[in-house]
């Protein structure tokens, strides 16, 4: 849908007969059709005129500094010329002047983007807009380079997918706004909607999740699509380098959830990331075993809900089933205790005090061993000196 302008281009030009020469005076008006043998010829003529009636209207050479008004004389939404096109095409060809003058590109001319158009009437071919003439598709987000050319969207585009997201799918076309503007399609406030245009099923899952609910309530700190998936270099979860791959999920979630201030603010609990990283799952994952549970294995991803929600995968009632995905036969006992919570006297009294006892035993045993070893070595040293002393005295006596 998004790329229709370019897709339609070849067909559009094919319909244009080279021999056609119709003056502006001969513009067909509705109800002007006669009857008889001549009407057949007239109909053909009208059909062709509907398409390209203004063919020779403006024989003006276009320059890059050409004023936009020149283009808008045909492509304005109010222009009657466009009425002759089917509705869907008309929408594509019509440019909302108001929108354009408010966009980030308000100072640019049409031909800055629609290059290769040197005259009116123009061929439709060659009008493919190339944003990379001015903008790099590689961006830096939080100090990390993100290349669109490496992304799954570009990979799909290369394969010939017509749905693959290109620049305009997310940023818009004539209505591109600076990212800082809250009504921009790529502003955090709009991101889920923008991605949801294509990924509508995921959007409806996200909308019901804790992140989506918070986003709907305009909580700026809530995760939107790009926080986890990245921006230009979005990769499939199966790709190791992806921010949502099994290897990188904990790192991605920790961008927000390792922040204790946020954890306290939203009642998530402390040390959620470090306690996971210290659990067998976290340790095994760090060593490269991706079969173990990462954050998403238990919490889900687009549909994450807090444990207090009975329908959450990690609610007390659902834990046995969730753990059972990997540990078949897991029973209700798994819900009797805490999962990745640092033991405190209140949360895990036994684990806390046993850990403390061991720490004290180990901490006092090492100095005790060291003391005994030092005493033993001192005893040996003292005795050997005594022996030497005795030997020397004996030698003295002899002499």
């Amino acid at each position: 849908m998004k790329r229709d302008i370019t897709d339609e281009a070849p067909e559009f030009s094919r319909r244009r007969p080279a021999s056609l020469s119709a003056g502006p005076d001969e513009l067909p008006l509705s109800g002007g059709l006669g009857k008889g043998p001549g009407s057949c010829v007239l109909l053909v003529l009208i059909f062709l005129l509907i398409s390209f009636r203004l063919a020779d209207a403006y024989e003006i050479k276009l320059t890059t500094s050409q004023d936009n008004a020149q283009c808008l004389s045909c492509h304005s939404g109010e222009n009657k010329y466009l009425e002759k096109f089917p509705k869907n095409k008309r929408e594509l060809l019509a440019v909302d002047e108001h929108m354009l003058s408010g966009s980030a590109h308000r100072l640019n001319t049409c031909t800055d983007c629609h290059s290769g158009l040197n005259q009116i009437p123009h061929e439709k071919t060659g009008a493919i807009v190339d944003c990379t003439k001015c903008h790099s598709s590689d961006i830096t987000v939080n100090g990390k380079e993100q290349k669109y050319s490496e992304s799954i969207h570009f990979a799909a585009l290369k394969k010939g997918s017509k749905e693959a997201a290109t620049c305009t799918s997310c940023h818009g076309t004539h209505d591109i706004l600076e990212v800082s503007r809250p009504d921009s399609r790529v502003n955090r406030a709009m991101i889920p909607k923008t991605c949801g245009t294509c990924h509508s099923e995921i959007f409806s899952l996200y909308e019901r999740s804790i992140h989506g609910q918070a986003w709907l309530k305009k909580v700026g700190e809530s995760a939107v699509c790009t926080d986890c998936h990245g921006e230009h270099q979005i990769l499939a979860p199966a790709v190791k380098e992806s921010s949502v791959s099994k290897q990188h999920i904990p790192e991605t979630c920790s961008k927000c959830h390792a922040n204790e201030k946020l954890n306290v603010k939203y009642g998530i609990g402390e040390k959620k990331i470090s306690t996971y990283l210290g659990s067998f799952h976290g340790i095994a994952l760090e060593y490269g075993d991706v079969t173990v549970a990462n954050c998403a294995s238990c919490h889900g991803y687009h549909d994450i809900l807090p444990s207090s929600d009975p329908s959450s995968s990690i609610s007390k009632g659902n834990l046995a089933r969730t753990c059972g995905h990997c540990h078949p036969g897991m029973g209700e006992n798994v819900a009797k205790g805490n999962i990745h919570v640092a033991p405190t006297p209140r949360s895990d009294i036994f684990a806390f005090y046993i850990k403390l006892a061991y720490t004290l035993i180990i901490g006092s045993m090492i100095p005790a061993f060291a003391a005994l070893i030092i005493i033993d070595l001192y005893g040996r040293y003292r005795r050997s000196r005594l022996a030497m002393h005795d030997g020397a005295e004996a030698a003295k006596e002899e002499s």
């Binding site: 897991m330 029973g331 006992n333 819900a335 205790g337 033991p343 180990i362």
Partner: protein, 232 residues
């Protein structure tokens, strides 16, 4: 009478030496393959265990070491209960009040507060501490290890919070055992100036008459008395 005296005294039988060697191998295997889970932030382990396959191998070797230790413990239990020698050794290893007195005597002797060395028997407090530490440690490690190995089956009976306790014990008990061996046992059998670089007792199983007199005077005395009574 003097001619009949053996030049060396057997301290460890072949069976006991083999048991010790099996313990050494399984202990080392268990420590090396277990430590990466306890000291998981240490970069060296991540260099050594650089792939999923190696991490899996670590788990397999850890369980192999565990099976070795279990077999050893079961065998040793049979040995101390059902053999004459084993029962005698167990009797010798039982803690007595005298051990504490001997120990204080040793400290005083080293500090120069008393002139005569302590009159140690076959096993002094150092040996007894090590033996019972290994026994206690092995039981704890095997029990908690089994629970962690068969976590789903264990959780039919045990709630999650006991699993957390189990994991704490397994890790910290192992650390305790490792440090005891590397500091205390290694000082006594390797770095002690008398035996440096290594006491060969664990291989030969025998002590010379000099060593018997020096380290186990009371046992030596008792043996001599036995010898005398036999020859009479």
């Amino acid at each position: 009478m003097m001619k009949n005296l053996p030049k060396t005294f057997e301290r460890l039988t072949l069976s006991e030496r083999i048991q010790h060697i099996v313990l050494v191998i399984s202990f080392m295997l268990l420590v090396i393959t277990g430590a990466p889970l306890f000291v998981y932030k240490w970069k060296l382990f991540h260099v050594l265990i650089a792939s999923e396959a190696l991490f899996r191998l670590r788990g397999i070797l850890h369980r192999a070491g565990a099976v070795m230790l279990i077999v050893l413990v079961v065998y040793h239990l049979g040995y101390i209960l059902f053999t004459r020698r084993g029962r005698h050794e167990l009797w010798e290893f039982l803690p007595r009040f005298r051990d504490l007195g001997d120990f204080l005597h040793l400290v005083k002797y080293n500090l120069g507060l008393v002139k005569d060395p302590p009159n140690f028997g076959r096993y002094n407090i150092i040996h007894k501490f090590e033996y019972w530490a290994v026994t206690w440690g092995s039981c704890m490690m095997i029990l908690t290890g089994f629970i962690l190995w068969f976590e789903v089956q264990a959780m039919i009976w045990l709630p999650k919070w006991i699993m957390d306790v189990t994991r704490v014990i397994h890790g910290y008990e192992a650390t305790l055992a490792f440090l005891t061996i590397i500091i205390w046992h290694f000082y006594n059998v390797h770095f002690n100036p008398d035996v440096f670089p290594m006491s060969k007792l664990w291989l030969t199983g025998r002590l010379t008459e000099e060593e018997m007199k020096k380290y186990h005077p009371r046992e030596y005395e008792e043996l001599m008395k036995e010898e005398e009574s036999k020859s009479e």
